[in-house]
Each structure stands twice: as C-alpha cells, then as structure tokens.
C-alpha cells in the first residue's frame, strides 16, 4: 500500500478514481434522470436544466389512474408466489442436497425447465389457466410465478443446504430427535439466511416479470410492468408519469437488495459452526 503514496502511485490513483466515477455515472445517470423527470412538471420532461421546477403532477396523474391497484397486485403476486414456492423449494433443495434424490439427472431436469424461452411457455400457461378459469385472476398469476421460480429457488436452497454440515443432523439424531425434528429444529433455522436470500431473489424476479403478466392479466389484475407499458398511448408516451411509476417500482427492490446483502453475507458465515 505504501507505494501508492508516491507520485506515480498518485497518478494511478487519479486514473483509477476517474474510471470508477465513470462507471458509477453509467449506472446512476439513468436512474437519476428518471427521478428528475418524475419530479419536474410533465411539460418540462425534455427541457434542459437539472431541476427547472419541482412538481408532484406526475405522481398525481399516476395515483388518479389504475397504478395504485397495480402496485398492490404486484406486491400480492410477487409475495404470494414466493410464499407458495418456498416450502416446495426448501424440501426439494434439502432432498437433493442431503439424499441426492433422483440422482444428478433429476437435479438437471429441474433446471432444464429454466432453459426454455419464456415465450414457449406462455401460451400453454394461458391455455391451462383459461381451462381452470384463472385468467385475469391474481391466484392464476401467483400459481404461474411460483411454478416458474421453483427450479431457481430449489437450486439456491440446495446450495445453502449443502453448506450445512451433515454432522449437525447427526448430532440432533443421536440427541434423540427424529429426522423431521432434526430438519425442522436444527437445519431449517440454520438455513434461514439462505431462505431469506432465495425469497428476496424470487420476489424480485416476479416483481419485474412482464411477458406472463401481459398475457395472463386483465385491466383489474395488471401488475406494475403491465400498467407502465399501458401508459404508452395513442397520444405518445406519458414520459413523466412513466418515470414516476418507475421510481415507485424501484423502491421495494432497493429495500430488498439491502436485505439480501445482509442475508447472503450471513449465509456465507456458516464457518461459525466449526
């Protein structure tokens, strides 16, 4: 580190920081720009200047429409699908990790479903939901998202369970626990950070999903991505309103990523067992 104090080191430091500033700008500018468009009057969306004026008009327009309903729909669908998928992902992941159930073939078969392009699945999904009377229905979307995310969540959980030493279960078994008790009382609490991380990832995936939501939902059940897309009208894109919607849509993701960071770090400190 001491070399960095020299003149040559200082030049390198300046170059490094310039590079970092550019990289940050590339990531942050679009977000900052969207935020700016959201908080200035709609008429000034394309006008020059950083903040020519402040106005809540875009948010007012958003809230007068169907957006609040879509926001609630997204929360219900993303949250519901995770809660529906998690018990399956946890038990499947555990079976794969601990008992190698079905052999490597089964594990990859589960993952293979993830490799199909979503377009190939959306029509069958529509046909099934229509037969079941679940189109334009939040329950239908929850069911589909849970199904779509299950393989991914299963693999994440499998990884976390593999990181838990089998001796923990052996200890519980010889301490008098049944296999189910060992799983429920010892393994599950240890895997909690992993479950939180997987849950948040699943939530984000469902939150951002557009294609299935577009095909399977109606005006009453539209999620945020569909609602925002709906703002592209014959009069052009209502860019100010879209920007306001994007700002609100990103908020839960920022909160979620804070969580996931903490839990993933916790998940990696299983070393505490040794």
């Amino acid at each position: 580190m001491s070399g960095m104090a020299g003149p040559a080191g200082r030049g390198g430091q300046v170059a490094l920081h310039l590079g970092l500033i550019l990289a940050c700008a590339a990531i942050l500018l679009p977000i900052l720009w969207v935020t700016r468009v959201a908080v200035v009057p709609a008429s000034m969306s394309y006008s020059p200047g950083v903040l020519p004026d402040l106005s809540s008009e875009n948010f007012d327009a958003l809230f007068s429409g169907r957006f609040p309903r879509s926001y609630l729909n997204s929360l219900l669908v993303a949250g519901g699908s995770v809660m529906l998928a998690m018990p399956f992902a946890v038990t499947l992941g555990y079976a794969f990790a601990r008992f190698g159930t079905g052999g490597p073939g089964a594990r990859f078969a589960v993952l293979a479903t993830q490799m199909l392009p979503p377009v190939a699945l959306v029509l069958p999904a529509f046909a099934i939901l229509r037969t079941a009377g679940l189109t334009d229905n939040l329950a239908g979307l929850i069911l589909v998202y849970a199904t779509l995310n299950l393989p991914f969540l299963t693999w994440i959980m499998m990884g976390f369970f593999k990181g838990i030493p089998v001796e923990l279960e052996w200890a519980a078994l010889s301490d008098g626990a049944t296999a189910w008790q060992a799983f429920r009382i010892v393994v599950l609490p240890t895997a909690l950070p992993g479950m939180a991380a997987a849950g948040v990832l699943g939530f984000i995936l469902s939150w951002n999903e557009f294609l299935f939501a577009l095909v399977l939902s109606g005006p009453r059940t539209a999620t945020i991505p569909v609602a925002l897309a709906g703002l592209q009208t014959s009069n052009g894109v209502e860019i100010g309103t879209v920007a306001a919607g994007v700002v609100l849509a990103v908020l839960p993701l920022i909160v979620a990523s804070r969580f996931i960071q903490r839990f993933i770090v916790e998940g990696l400190t299983f070393g505490a067992v040794k």
Partner: protein, 375 residues
Amino acid sequence: MARITLDKVSRLYGSGSVGVHEVSLDVADGEFLILLGPSGCGKSTTLRMIAGLEETTSGRIHIGGRDVTDLRPRDRNLAVVFQSYALYPTMTVRANIGFGLKMRGMPTAEIAQRVDQAAHLLGLFPYLDRKPAALSGGQRQRVALGRAIVREPEAFLLDEPLSNLDAQLRAEMRAELVRLHRSLGRTILHVTHDQVEAMTMGDRICILRGGRVEQVGAPLEVYANPSNMFVARFLASPPMNFLPARLVAVDGLSLDLAPGLLWPVPATHLAAWAGHAGSAVMLGLRPEDVHSQGAPGRIPLDLQVTAVEALGPETIVTGFLSAAPGLPPLRVRLGRGRLPLLGQTLDLHADLLPAHLFDRVTEAVIPRPRLDATP
C-alpha cells in the same frame, strides 16, 4: 450395563467399495477403547454404525445385550461428539446442552438444573447465554462434551474430538477426558489417528486398516508386541525402523543384513526364531533401542548422519549404516546431550532383545519371548 459388541459388522457402499469389513469387537462395560488408524481406515464409519448414523450392511451390533442394529439413533441412548463439534449454530450454549433432554421430553425445570450442573462441571457457566459463534475452540469443545454428558447416555462415542484443538489445549483435554471417564464410569469409544491419544487415554486400542481390525490390546502390550509391520509402524513416532535381512544359522543364529554384516540373535530368542533359519525377514528396530552406550549383548554399529532433529528432550538422528549403505536409513533416538553434525559418523549400539522379526511376505510378526515392563 453398556457392553458394546460388534459381530462381523460390515459396511459396503453402493459403488462396491468396502468401508468396514467384518469387524468384530467386544467393548466391556465402562471401558475406554480407542479406535486408531490412518484416515480412510473405517474407524469413523464403525463409530457411526454403532451410533446408528450409518447403515450396517451386515453383522449385528449389541449394546448392553440389546440388538440395536436396526434401531434408530434416538433409540440407542448413545451420545456422540464430533470433530467439528456440530453445535447448533442458532441456539445458545444452554439450548445446545439441553437439546437432548428436551427431545426426550424432560420437564423444563429438570433440564435447567442438569444443564447448570454440566456447565459447572465443564466451566461453561459464564457462557450459557452465548451462541457457539461467540466461543473459542476449546469452549465449543466443552459445550459438545456437555451436550453428551448431560444426557447420561449408556456410552459415549467420540469422533476425533481433540484434533481441532491446539497442542496445549489438546493435552489438557486428554487429561480431562480421562478424568471424566473415571468419574462417570461409562463406556467410551474414542476415534483418533493420534498415537499419543491412543497410548495415553485408553484401556485398550483397536487398530484398523482398510476397514479391518489389525490388532486389539492394551496400549503398552500392542506397542511391545505388535502383530504385524503395519501396527509396529503406526503406533509410534518416529516409527519403527525396518531392515531387510536373512536369518542364517551362523554362530547359532544370525541376521545377515549385507555382505559381511552379521548381527547375532540374542540367546533368549534362539529357540523361537530357529525354525525360520534361511528365510527372508524384516528386522524391526525401534529408534529408542539404539543406544550411545555399549553394554553386553548390544551390537556395535557406525551410523553416518544425514539428518538431525533436535526436539529438546531428545534428538532424533537419521543416518546410514556405514557397513551397509545400501540398507534403508535408520532413525535413532538419542538423549538431549547429543547434537551430532551432518556427515559425522556415530559410534552406536543396537539392542536386539526388544527387536522384532517380521515375515517379509506376510508382514506378520515372528513371535519371540515376551518382555514385560517392570514397575
């Protein structure tokens, strides 16, 4: 009563590989038995089969006269301590120690009382409300022991419980385990690959290799009378020296080590070894049986020094016999007063009385009269 009996117990894996092959073992009630062997010898697998954590492919396991082969771990009433300690990371020390009692449905008040007792015994009282992550290695080890003790099981199964500790702590815990064994009087099976643990802790040692029992006996008995070259090599550090030789009928009976290098066999061993005259043998000579001082019956030899390890209390010297440089190098144990230089030739004396002869093909020992240690 917790006598543990293994009757031709085997563990085969799906791939066809053998983990443990027809191991028969009888551990007396209250005995401290060491399962010793290199990694992969099946000692931990044997322990897990006794605990019910590993399936027994064939053979029967009895604990206290009861056939437990097909019982679940929880129905065997054994306590297991693992090398990694396997403390429940989400529970406090108190909950960890009390877990087994809770699983057996003991009333909360009684659990608390027993946990406190065990914590006092092991010096864990100040840490009862901590999580395992906030404990040192030695403290975690004690929690694992506490978790085992508090259940008052029929027997303790310890799977290399000391190998994650530093040298000083390990020495302390060795003594503590022996003390615990005396005060609890329960059967203990202790798996280790450490010869010091094996020699100092157990009533008997069972040495395993490749899933088979090589020898069972009291530590000093096995040390003094190894049944084959593997046991002789494994049960000491530095290990026994092996010099290939031929038993010839010269001067009664001699060991022909190299052209012109004949070592006479001690008179006491003549009768036992005479039948093997003419056969190719391996002379097993422990490093402590080569001395600086000459004495009647000792065989003088010149050792050309190639390596010196000064350990403090003693110096381990490696070198070649000047008279037969083609033989494998010899390691000898000298007092701390000697610190030879590399390349120097030492004037030493081998005592063949405690030495062993092994069949060079089967590696089995060729018996000789027993030498008993005197108090």
